[in-house]
Symmetry: D2
Subunit: 190 residues, 4 copies
């Protein structure tokens, strides 16, 4: 599932291969200052890894901060909006996927991500995305100050949910998880 | 939001008004024996209240038990399936809503329910439905043996999530919640 | 796929088996007077066949007329709403399925229907439902005054789209299509 | 809605603004050789305009040809897949949006596109996308050999559906439609 940017040497072939997508999930209006600071850093770090950033795409909270952070660092940012148009899209988004599906789009966020980072409070839409990601067998990295959420979600995550203490640690964990997946796929293919 | 079955006295008017829908959410393959026993009882109790039962509609676990319980007690059962056909529908279902949307259909389950009862382990799809229900401002009644889940979810539920210790208590709580909603709506309308 | 209402003789078994669902698709605000008259009649005829009526559920146009027609004739009516709540539901609906998905819910309408009747102009949402039904290998009965639409859609329907000239003919065609499907399934099972 | 790629002069601001997205819709397995040739050319022309290409993302037919055409010309390609994983994604895709929603994803394709080009036969999923686009007030450019489809769809399109005779003409029409939209938005804002 881990894919690098590959510039082709042949005129007749593809210029770019499918990119690794990392979804960052977090609150909108209810995001804490800490979560927003982390999100901005996460965006920059994800761009530096040459991963595509996917978020819920709105112009508030974690969604907005992570999108602007990645955009300013030169990354490609996809916003998967719950609204039927892009009027409330974050300025940090390159491409808006407009679903018009309300919170049902949360499942698209996790299915489209090679790994999911949940940033801030594990409530509401973010909690649904953690749960949907685990159900879809996606690795989740949880970056939160909420000790009770950490404990509960790590138990039900059964090895698929990992705790990070900083944006740097979240990205390092994600890199490791992608490499583990790649190794598994290589093994399976042989 | 609470609606009773009304037989009209006029030949020219509606025979039935919109029905109250109660969604029961729970695991499929991973459901515990306790959860399945509870689900069967919940189905019968919901039918006795003349509420429509809505479930995820599959022929396993809580979804299957609650549907059969309600059907055998004479209730109307709607199954909202995640699959693109009804091949794996519970035999207890009267009407299959076939979404073909995978877990994105979980949001339809909660939006269509006047109140949501979560039965058994609060994990995977069930946890996503609890989270989506709270986000949509729906009352949730949680019937589980998992003390940690009770504590965490009650905290993040901020007064919208209620703990039950038995199917009877879950249905009594649901009845009270529907009446409270009705009172609020009456007050608002005046 | 054709299922009759079966009252069980055994106390321990199901009271009702899964019901046949017929979807009637048509315009809202843009519905013609002819389409609305037809829709009212279709609703009554569908109820008389003991089929469940499924519609887009709104309180305007064909959706509203067919729902009220079926309700007044004693039928069970399911409205699959595109909105995130039931504020604009037709009074003829027994059970509202609230999707909050906009026009993406059109695919649920057709997947949930054993056969689809398109009533009135084959445009906008209705045309999308005809197309989605044909893609999902569902039989479509088209009741419209638009000769050009009849000709174009019958050609691309490749034997799956049938033309009716009246509500009575539409229901007779639907009954025949359900019986043909049942025969095929019986043959396949042997 | 028309947005150009803007390189910022300020270190503290966004590097890229939201991109214009053009959706190209067409058949998979049933695509004609003519439609596939057109799709390949459309992809290259769309990339040359610096628009993002959005398609249904599968590795067959029009979806595959247009994606590879755009990729080889250096364009950014988004594939919105109907499947729950990316196993059948076209090699031409940069970013896979994985919906797992079946044909309900067709509405996402049109809502996410600033304009829609339908390439080849206007049947099945493609016809649903034309209808959903018109319902969502999106401009549609139709490139097809089917004279009957042209005539019927142009009539119901009421000025929103435009006929092209070649990929070059389709892209020129699309450019004009985007400029007209921009002018309207400018006028409205004043």
């Amino acid at each position: 599932m881990y894919r690098a940017l590959v510039l082709s040497a042949h005129a007749d072939s593809l210029i770019v291969m499918r990119r690794t997508v990392i979804g960052v999930m977090g609150s909108g209006e209810n995001a804490s200052p800490q979560a927003i600071t982390w999100a901005r850093q996460l965006g920059a770090l994800i761009a530096a890894e040459n991963w595509v950033l996917l978020s819920g795409g709105r112009n508030v909270g974690v969604m907005n901060a992570v999108s602007i952070g990645a955009n300013q660092a030169g990354g490609l940012v996809i916003g998967v909006l719950h609204t039927p148009d892009a009027a409330e899209a974050s300025d940090g988004i390159d491409v808006a996927i407009v679903t018009g599906m309300g919170s049902a789009r949360n499942n698209i966020n996790v299915l489209s991500s090679d790994a999911v980072i949940a940033c801030g409070n594990a409530e509401g839409g973010t909690l649904s995305e953690i749960a949907l990601a685990l159900k879809a067998k996606k690795s989740v990295v949880l970056l939160t100050e909420d000790a009770e959420a950490r404990q509960f979600l790590q138990r039900i995550g059964r090895g698929m949910l990992h705790i990070a203490n900083s944006p740097e640690e979240a990205v390092a964990l994600t890199r490791q998880l992608l490499e583990d997946t790649e190794d598994t796929e290589d093994t399976v293919q042989r």
